[in-house]
């Protein structure tokens, strides 16, 4: 016996009925195309693929640092959160170099009448891209880039309202953004308390000092503690950001946010571990790879002097380039004028994800953001992988 729903004749007519119904609703539909997708439009506003960024202002923000203010040529700057970065696509010497810079201005400054964002670059010794910025970028120039990127920001659903920030050198920039947002922006009056333990060498090397002083004056929720390593007469904290100093300014269950150079990261991570801080309370920005690869834990020392050949496959095309073992694969590609879309440059974000067809690479264990199956099936992040042999790789066609 098969089922009876409403009577044999009505039951067996179901297929014709639903077909008629469908045919009818299509026949009665409008023939005017509706190409509008408001959800994609908002998604594109939040994550523009590429922006034209005009330099609106350049100012000195320490003896060695300059702050560059950008407006968007189309007037729109996406909503971002303090801690996120802008990624620039720079045309330098026939190569396209992609470089991330933390946004140093506050999110609220990118809303309203005259939206802008700023990055702050410190150049205390020669570096290729900072040198280029300092020497070449002028007010009125238009650079290509996009924002926001990165998942390092204060997350209210996860992080404590008591924030102890640990900053070294130019690592202050995201905290300047956060402090300013707490003082004047959307995070004002939300109960956040931010204490910044900011390590610099000397007083004149403190980046954004005047700005930080002003925020501290205006906002009781923000406190800046300068820790100077080479200024014997400094009345405040001296030396490095040690366990003693961190404990002095910590509150129970606070969230530690770190942004600073590689050696400081190593120290801070060790110190917080010793203090028994759970990993979830230690949020750190992408750690820049040290210029000397042998400093990375696990690097097979002695191999850094080698040179290798990389066969680069893009679509049906193949190119062979030279690579120094000292430099990540992405740098070898950039030197050869081959485009590779890096973002974090620390192995974390996976934007430059590519296939390693043959050969060996050293992958930095710090910030290794590869997926399990990518590791098992030979995919890697060229921005944070150093050649240990000749390689054959496949990268996206850009």
């Amino acid at each position: 016996m098969s089922i009876k729903v409403k009577g044999f004749l009505k039951d067996v007519g179901g297929a014709s009925r639903v077909t008629e119904l469908r045919r009818e609703s299509i026949a009665n539909a409008s023939s005017v195309p509706d190409p509008k997708d408001p959800i994609r439009e908002v998604a594109d506003l939040l994550h523009p693929e590429s922006m034209k960024l005009r330099v609106a202002e350049i100012r000195d923000t320490s003896k060695y640092a300059k702050t560059f203010r950008f407006e968007s040529v189309d007037g729109h700057i996406p909503v971002f959160q303090s801690g996120q970065y802008a990624n620039f696509r720079l045309e330098i010497g026939g190569s396209t170099l992609t470089r991330p810079y933390s946004i140093s201005s506050a999110p609220y400054e990118a809303r309203g009448e005259k939206p802008f964002f700023e990055i702050t670059i410190r150049r205390n010794r020669p570096y290729f891209v900072p040198d280029w910025f300092f020497a070449n970028v002028k007010v009125g120039d238009v650079l290509e880039g996009a924002l926001p990127f990165g998942t390092w920001y204060w997350e209210p659903l996860r992080d404590s309202k008591e924030i102890v920030a640990l900053a070294g050198g130019v690592g202050i920039t995201p905290f300047h953004s956060l402090a300013k947002e707490i003082a004047y922006g959307k995070l004002k009056g939300k109960g956040l308390k931010l204490t910044v333990l900011y390590g610099s060498v000397k007083q004149d090397d403190i980046v954004l000092k005047d700005e930080l002083d002003a925020i501290e004056r205006d906002c009781p929720d923000v406190r800046i503690v300068h820790v100077l390593s080479d200024e014997p007469d400094w009345p405040g904290e001296k030396g490095f950001v040690t366990r003693e100093i961190i404990e002095k300014y910590s509150t129970p269950d606070c969230t530690y946010m770190f942004c600073g150079p590689f050696p400081m990261y190593t120290l801070v991570k060790k110190t917080l571990g010793e203090m028994g801080v759970p990993d979830r309370r230690f949020r750190h920005d992408a750690i820049n790879n040290p210029a000397d690869v042998t400093l990375l834990p696990g690097y097979p020392k002695g191999r850094e002097t080698e040179t290798h050949k990389i066969t680069v496959c893009r679509g049906i095309a193949k190119d062979v380039i030279d690579a120094s073992a000292k430099e990540p694969v992405a740098v070898a590609l950039e030197r050869a004028g081959i485009k590779i879309d890096t973002h974090c440059r620390n192995g974390e974000c996976g934007f430059c994800r590519s296939q390693l067809i043959s050969g060996d690479v050293f992958v930095s264990p710090i910030g290794d953001g590869r997926r399990l199956m990518d590791r098992e099936m030979g995919w890697f992040h060229p921005c944070s992988a150093w050649p240990l042999s000749d390689l054959t790789i496949r990268i996206p066609i850009l």
Binding site: I3, K4, V5, K6, F8, K10, D11, V12, G14, A15, R17, V18, T19, L21, R22, R23, S25, A27, N28, A29, S30, S31, V32, P33, D34, P35, D37, I39, R40, V42, A43, L45, L46, V79, Q81, R111, T151, E155, L157, R158, D253, D279, R280, G315, I316, A317, E348, G350, F351, R353, D368, R370, R371, L372, M373, D374, M377, P396, I397, L398
Partner: protein
């Protein structure tokens, strides 16, 4: 002409998601090897993917992969992977679902096996075993018939003779057919939670689809050891081993058509590449209103076809890694449907606005199917609701972050009602995805993951019967959630194969005409 592509391919597939890749595999199995796949993102699989945050790998979408079956007794999708040599490490999901309705006093885990689940419902609502079991067997017969009829055409009389239950229930909603069983409300509430995976109210959802879903889920389901990215990666590798060219970061902007016949695509990068066939993973809505070049090649019927159909649902999902074991965080099982009600009309009404907290959620604790998904002492959790896209269409960029955090925190609060443990202080990682997230990463039209809504006015059986009417441009096929088999990851495999079959048939026809 670009140095990276050939001038011409037999088939270009737009989108390297599950449907696109299964289309390629099916074509390759039948000897079509000259295939180019162009993927917008830098990952294969579309939504079948995951991401890494601070060393934790987090599943982006997959709850349960259906129609896999055991190694010895494969079902349709599992068999296809085996046949294609795609070797995936499937991990069984330990139960079908827990339905927890504090208001109705229901809190019960249902396991796979039609008899077993009927007994489990009987334990809560005594005296219902026979009827629930009978309903499940009916669902199974409809499921079996669907699988046969989707590949083997037959006459109406033959259909009525061989597949009477299928034929007699086609015209009705899930509610209408379930009502004939005269089950108490409480039992019905335990039988409806899966509705979320087809995204329409039980009053408008065809029984056929409900039956297919129930019969399928209650045979058991699977996830991948290496997250859904494993499935995507292994399909991609196989497609390439079979000789296809697969390129990432290649967004197709235009589908080139002349005199009603497709002849290639143009990418955002500017490459114009020609092909005899184009398979679109982009929604017909996008293809017919933006992508066909020139748009004058789009027949009026195609516009009516998209305007006359309703899009299905969009996901809102909160994904977390939490310090502590699942037990410490109050989780005891894999998949839980919970909320204030299981009345899908009431849930739908609630979901049509963004002001009320969602009254219904799906919680997945991945540890219970894949213990290796996090290091020991951590919990991987997702909370999801599938809702109509309309309320999101008026959300602005400025309010977006606040809105998504509010939705997430409300969904977490709803979840705390079942865990009875406040895990919020132990959250290690949290990501919230919305229709905007979907639109951003895979470009799906209005952030839709489920194509067109299964309803009585857009019935799968009617879609099958109107296959020819729905075909507008020679050489252009579609493979995605908007396909005949509809939504979900399992059906994507079927949708992709259907697109391949259409191409193979067309090729044969054209060769015969020569």
């Amino acid at each position: 002409m670009s140095k990276y592509f050939k001038d011409h391919y037999d088939v270009i597939i737009i989108g390297g998601a599950l449907a696109g890749m299964s289309c390629a595999l099916q074509l390759q199995a039948k000897g079509v090897k000259d295939i180019l796949i162009l993927e917008k993102h830098n990952l294969p699989g579309g939504l079948a993917t995951d991401y890494v945050r601070n060393g934790f790998e987090i599943e982006a979408t997959l709850h349960e992969m259906m129609s896999i079956g055991t190694k010895e007794n494969r079902l349709k999708v599992g068999q296809f992977f085996d046949d294609m040599g795609v070797d995936i490490d499937w991990l069984p999901v330990p139960e079908c679902y827990r339905v927890a309705l504090p208001n109705s006093g229901i809190d019960k885990i249902l396991h796979d096996g039609y008899e077993r689940m009927a007994r489990e419902i009987d334990e809560v609502v005594p005296g219902t075993f026979e009827k629930v079991h009978e309903l499940m067997l009916l669902c199974r017969r409809v499921y079996d018939s669907m699988n046969i009829l989707s590949v083997t055409p037959m006459s109406k009389v033959q259909m009525l003779m061989k597949h009477p239950d299928f034929v007699k229930t086609v015209g009705y909603s899930a509610t209408e057919v379930i009502n004939t069983f005269g089950l108490p409300k409480k039992a019905v509430e335990m039988l409806t939670p899966y509705w979320i995976y087809v995204g329409n109210r039980m009053d408008d959802l065809p029984f056929t689809i409900y039956a297919f879903l129930m019969a399928d889920y209650f045979t058991g389901s699977y996830v991948c050891r290496g997250f859904s990215h494993e499935m995507s990666m292994k399909m991609e590798r196989k497609v390439e081993e079979n000789g296809a060219q697969f390129e990432f970061k290649q967004e197709v902007e235009k589908i080139l058509v002349k005199d009603g016949k497709v002849y290639g695509v143009r990418t955002k990068r500017g490459d114009e590449i020609h092909a005899d066939y184009v398979v679109s993973g982009a929604y017909p809505n996008k293809v017919y209103t933006q992508m066909i070049e020139p748009l004058s090649e789009v027949p009026e019927g195609a516009i009516k076809m998209i305007n006359g159909r309703k899009l299905a649902v969009v996901p809102v999902s909160v994904m977390m890694v939490i310090e502590g074991t699942p037990e410490e965080n109050g989780f005891t099982n894999y998949s839980t449907f919970s909320g204030e009600t299981m009345d899908t009309n009431e849930i739908w009404r609630n979901n049509e606005n963004l002001t009320e907290p969602y009254n219904y959620i799906t919680t997945i604790c991945l540890n219970y199917a894949n213990p290796g998904c996090v290091p020991e002492g951590f919990t991987q959790l997702s909370i999801t609701n599938l809702v109509p896209s309309a309320p999101f269409e008026s959300v602005t960029e400025e309010e977006y972050h606040d809105l998504k955090r509010r939705l997430a925190s409300e969904m977490i609060e709803e979840c705390l009602k079942i865990t009875k443990v406040d895990f919020r202080k132990r959250i290690c990682e949290i990501e919230i995805s919305t229709p905007m997230t979907i639109a951003h990463y895979v470009g799906a039209w209005k952030g839709n993951i489920y194509g067109f809504s299964h309803s009585l006015s857009d019935h799968a059986v009617a879609r099958l019967g109107m296959k020819e009417e729905d075909h507008f441009i020679d050489g252009l096929e579609f493979a995605g959630a908007f396909g005949m088999s509809g939504d979900g990851m399992g059906p994507q495999i079927t949708n992709g194969r259907a697109a391949a079959k259409a191409i193979l048939e067309d090729k044969e026809k054209k060769e015969a005409a020569k």
